[in-house]
Symmetry: C2
Subunit: 380 residues, 2 copies
Amino acid sequence: MPTIGILGGGQLARMLALAGAPLGLRFLVVDSAADACAGQVAPLVQADWCDFDALAGFAQRIDVATFDFENVPADTARWLSERTRVFPNPRALATSQDRLAEKTLFQRIGLATPPFAVVDSRDDLQRAVAQVGLPAILKTRRLGYDGKGQYRLRLPGDVDAAWQALGGAPAILEAFVPFERELSVVAVRGRDGELRAYPLTRNWHTDGILSASLAPAPGSQALLPVALAHARRLAEELDYVGTFALELFVRDGQLLGNEMAPRVHNSGHWTIEGAAASQFENHVRAVCGLPLGDTAALGLSVMLNWIGELPPAQAVLAEPRAHWHDYGKSPRAGRKVGHATLRADSAPEMIERLTRVGRALGREAQVAPVIEALQADASA
Amino acid sequence: MPTIGILGGGQLARMLALAGAPLGLRFLVVDSAADACAGQVAPLVQADWCDFDALAGFAQRIDVATFDFENVPADTARWLSERTRVFPNPRALATSQDRLAEKTLFQRIGLATPPFAVVDSRDDLQRAVAQVGLPAILKTRRLGYDGKGQYRLRLPGDVDAAWQALGGAPAILEAFVPFERELSVVAVRGRDGELRAYPLTRNWHTDGILSASLAPAPGSQALLPVALAHARRLAEELDYVGTFALELFVRDGQLLGNEMAPRVHNSGHWTIEGAAASQFENHVRAVCGLPLGDTAALGLSVMLNWIGELPPAQAVLAEPRAHWHDYGKSPRAGRKVGHATLRADSAPEMIERLTRVGRALGREAQVAPVIEALQADASA
């Protein structure tokens, strides 16, 4: 069976390796940190993205390369693609690394975006504020994730502070859209072009970091065909292979494209237990050219993210149909260190489970919006 | 989080490590083979069971020890238990290593067994044949598994051949009981004494090796309370901690004890996808003193064992709700190299799935008895 090389050794690489092992796949992870958590479940090569000597050895030991992290330098991906198969391809990676290229692509495939303007200088920013209006968010074109590389402008006087906060990096100014809901479509495309998608997932963020996901997203199934069509066009435009996520806003019943993640995605973690084949299994199937697995949801799933540190595991372990995921990382503010997935066959059962777990963990605020969404759907 | 040491690095250790990783548990495997397949997913110490220098180092690096293989020498288990926690305890391991001790225990807890007699000499065997009758099976008291260490006697003239075949090892002669069905109960007991059991599983063997399992076993739920009571008494007698399996025969609606496996068991592999918490997850929860997980079955599951070599994976990977398990072992006659689990919400759906997969893999004979059992239950 083939060996899959993964660039980046975080929790996504870890869950890819755990999902691929039952298929007989082997893994080799490369990360600059000796204690990268994927190294607990797969062999690890410690090297920087630009250490081409180490990467040459890595390329020789693998049959196909993929990513745990979208900010691997595009040059590294291209260099590697001359030596081994690389999925997703370097062009797909490069496009999603650049907010401007990404949003331009969204518009080309007919997916509306919030209004935005390109900002390469302080003067650009001044013009962009006039064009886009306020409030707005200044976002670096590159290397932003989990709310990093962003600055919110409320008043015209915020221009200088915003420009300084992002250090003058190439950016875009995006109108702040008061959306009603955040959704994501997690999909996978095979080497043969077959595309499969999981049901729409509803997401809640706190301080720019995913806090909870609910799937299938209640009351959103009417949007699924449109969301799927966008995901399909996006994947085809990029000749994408593997799992990806398309983050969407819902405003007045319409979808707006937020961003695309060229990898397995936090909002798809529920698929480990909530679907017959998880996003991780489907990603490794896709990059190895194996048939794609079933993406139908098995009942309702809620994923709760653990940021900074893990709550005590006991209450989740003692709850039926609850699943604990500890990534084996040391605690640190803002760091994703684990998650839990709760499953149920019905909304009332899920509300009960969420209420019990939220109370036991002192996480009432985290579960509250999910409960509210389930209740609103029941009374709709 | 604790590190679990596993003695034996086969597919059971591999599946224990894969199940424990999401809980944040770490593993260290010891096996005499450098290419033991659990070494693909966890660090491996290469050492013999009697290499006490290596085992001393192993004991220092772990918080608790457990087993992938019941034939680890009882002396090794006892030696280790003086240096670290060992679950199941060495007495439980020793009892299940000896067919005489095991069957004696079955009788003490009120679980009937097929008639048997102790055989320590050729004369004993002659007497045992007169006592037990023919046909009968001569089984070594120790080190037998998957049909190894057994010889079937049909005629009084078979005594010499049988005695020679087993090389004069201490044995028992067991009456050949024409049972109607083989069942197993897979259960787990926590460090606090809590016991949870999965639904009864029906099993089919070929040449002494498990070929297929079906759970929950149709038409057997009336036997569950009795089977559970036996499993509970057995575990309490042995002060057992962890997952174990009790193999049973059904004859005239009554249960007979066949043997006990002091570890996760092949007939429980379906629990990976077919229950909220698998036998592997529950074993590591138990040995770490964590709360036990939910053992209810989620629909119907069928496990098909792959012996000697893997069939082509494509047909299983392309089937909805089918799961492929390749243990990463090289092919060899009689070796367990993988399994597949098929799931369904109803017997007709399962029959359809089994028929399709059986035909695509050329394994019609392997799936036939399972289909027959599902059909018989539907028409009962």
